[in-house]
């Protein structure tokens, strides 16, 4: 019984190490893997929106920092390409 538990623990630890190494390679380094888990994964979602559905609306701020407008206001009889992103 103890032997089974030992091998289960060793296997589990090995999988964790392998996952961490894989994540480190993907993220760019061991520290990046931790930061990715902490800061990226909580915000990264596949989303539930589907093609054909009505697009959700949201209020945005213009570059002057004061003017507000809605995404749907820019959807006036032509297709609207939305490009989401940040600077970094």
């Amino acid at each position: 019984m103890n032997r089974t538990l030992l091998w289960t623990a060793i296997s589990f630890s090995g999988l964790v190490v392998l996952a961490y190494v894989g994540l480190s390679i993907l993220a760019g380094g061991p520290k990046d893997a931790i930061e990715m888990l902490r800061f990226a994964l909580p915000y990264m979602h596949r989303g539930k929106l589907k093609v054909g559905e009505s697009a959700p609306d949201a209020r945005l701020v213009a570059l002057d920092g004061a003017t507000r407008f809605h995404i749907r206001e820019r959807n006036n009889g032509r297709p609207l390409v939305l490009v989401f992103g940040s600077f970094t």
Partner: protein, 134 residues
């Protein structure tokens, strides 16, 4: 942004600035610091900070595409599951006609170009001339 120049007479474009992907105080990327453009910011905590970074971006790159900034409640980001970067196309009636994958690995402007090309025709650009060896 070449797609914008090629299709702005047929479609509208809107860039939406959302929360930073790699700020100095979160998942910091060394490449941003090494980058000649020195793109280093902490995650904005106020709308004024977000507006300042957005203005820095548009001015630094003379960015021509219409621009909007997500409010601090991240409403646009949450509605479209957009972080860290994502592309969508809404059709004339406000329905989602194209939904791109999450960036950076599934972020593919070529798919947007293909969608626009299918509707409005392909815009071809001349191949750059090969460099002459001296």
């Amino acid at each position: 942004m070449q797609i914008y120049d090629d299709y702005k007479d047929h479609a509208d474009f809107l860039t939406i600035y959302i929360r930073e992907a790699h700020p100095l105080d979160e998942w910091r990327m060394k490449s941003n610091e090494k980058d000649k453009d020195d793109v280093c910011y902490v995650q904005p905590k106020t709308l004024a900070q977000r507006v300042a970074i957005a203005n820095d971006f548009t001015q630094r790159f003379k960015f021509p595409v219409p621009f909007g900034i997500d409010e601090m409640n991240n409403a646009a980001n949450d509605a479209y599951a957009a972080w860290p970067e994502r592309l969508y196309i809404l059709d004339e009636s406000g329905r989602i006609s194209y939904k791109g994958g999450n960036g950076p690995f599934q972020y593919d402007p070529k798919e947007v170009r293909a969608w626009l090309a299918q509707r409005y025709g392909e815009v071809k650009h001349p191949e750059p001339a090969p460099e002459k060896k001296s």
